[in-house]
């Protein structure tokens, strides 16, 4: 099924099943992308998992993007699903504001999301409700901030030996 047909097929299904949750759909670089509301993401994922025609039962990856300039929609979480039998890939995005960073966890559907969501919590501070073990995974447990957010620098702020001028920063 080529990508435009896949886009329209899934779009119709989502519009029918989630009239309030569905926001929009787009073909970005030949990849069907659907934007849904944050609270319906778990139901959308479950629906696509159990659907008979296109059952997206493989979670490729999930990632967070921080847009500090888009007030009201600072964070986006992107899920990529894959239907291995028919070899179809789609992307689902949710947008939400930085004042309330709670997102329903999809660990009940995909066990792979366990560590993926922990990584997003570690890097961005997104709190996944319903996650069995939401704590930091890659950074030190004692770290107090979420480093991938745009306001934090790459380098460690406490180092005193590297002169920023000489290192071109």
């Amino acid at each position: 099924m080529e990508t435009q047909a896949l886009l329209t097929a899934v779009e119709q299904k989502l519009k029918a099943q989630f009239p309030e949750g569905y926001v929009s759909s787009e073909l970005i670089a030949d990849y069907p992308t659907f934007i849904v509301k944050r609270d319906s993401i778990l139901d959308v994922v479950k629906f696509l998992y159990n659907d008979v025609d296109t059952s997206f039962q493989y979670l490729t990856t999930l990632a967070t993007i921080h847009y500090p300039d888009h007030t009201g929609q600072e964070f986006a979480v992107m899920y990529q699903l894959h239907d291995l039998r028919k070899n179809l890939r789609i992307r689902i995005k949710i947008f939400f504001s930085s004042s309330d960073t709670h997102v329903p966890s999809i660990t009940s559907v995909f066990s792979a999301a366990n560590w993926m969501e922990r990584q997003e919590f570690d890097f961005f501070g997104i709190i996944f409700t319903g996650h069995p073990n939401l704590k930091r995974i890659l950074n030190m447990d004692e770290m107090t901030y979420h480093p991938m957010r745009k306001e934090y620098a790459l380098e460690d702020g406490t180092r005193e030996d590297k002169d920023d001028k000489m290192f071109g920063r």
Binding site: N139, E155, D156, G157, F167
Partner: protein, 185 residues
Amino acid sequence: MSTKEKSKVETADAPPGIEGPGFFATRIDKVVGMARANSLWPLPFATSCCGIEFMATMASTYDLGRFGAERLSFSPRQADLLMVMGTISKKMAPVLRQVYEQMAEPKWVLSMGACASSGGIFDTYSVLQGIDRVIPVDVYIPGCPPRPEQVLDGILQIQKLVESESIRRRDTPEYKALLNKYGME
């Protein structure tokens, strides 16, 4: 007596000493230094890519066993040489320090690769910018990753250090001052 052709194998030279029929007298620190240098037991603290180059150094082409360092010891209590190979993050630094403190004297530290020596290309919030922030280092090997020949050169430098150090250097004031700088006694 038939003339043998010159053998291509070079053994380690005996230290200077007085030789006679049935005896050989030399200084004890020379003998001990020679014994220590040619039978180092390394502890490969391999964390990332430099560890794979270490595996290549241990394999047949660049055989590290030629220099006596074939018996790897993963227990700090039994090791002489701590080879830190790869990036050490801030999460790993306390583990590295604990391993160093558990090693028995005499002990030397070899920092292999750019990441262990200075943080390497990763000037980030999570990487320790050089292991000499937590433990004293004897020899640094630059490279990303260093070629096996460079690793062997580093081992030879360590061997030179080992040969020339005093037997009980742990009692010398300089060594004590060095350890105090790192907060260890």
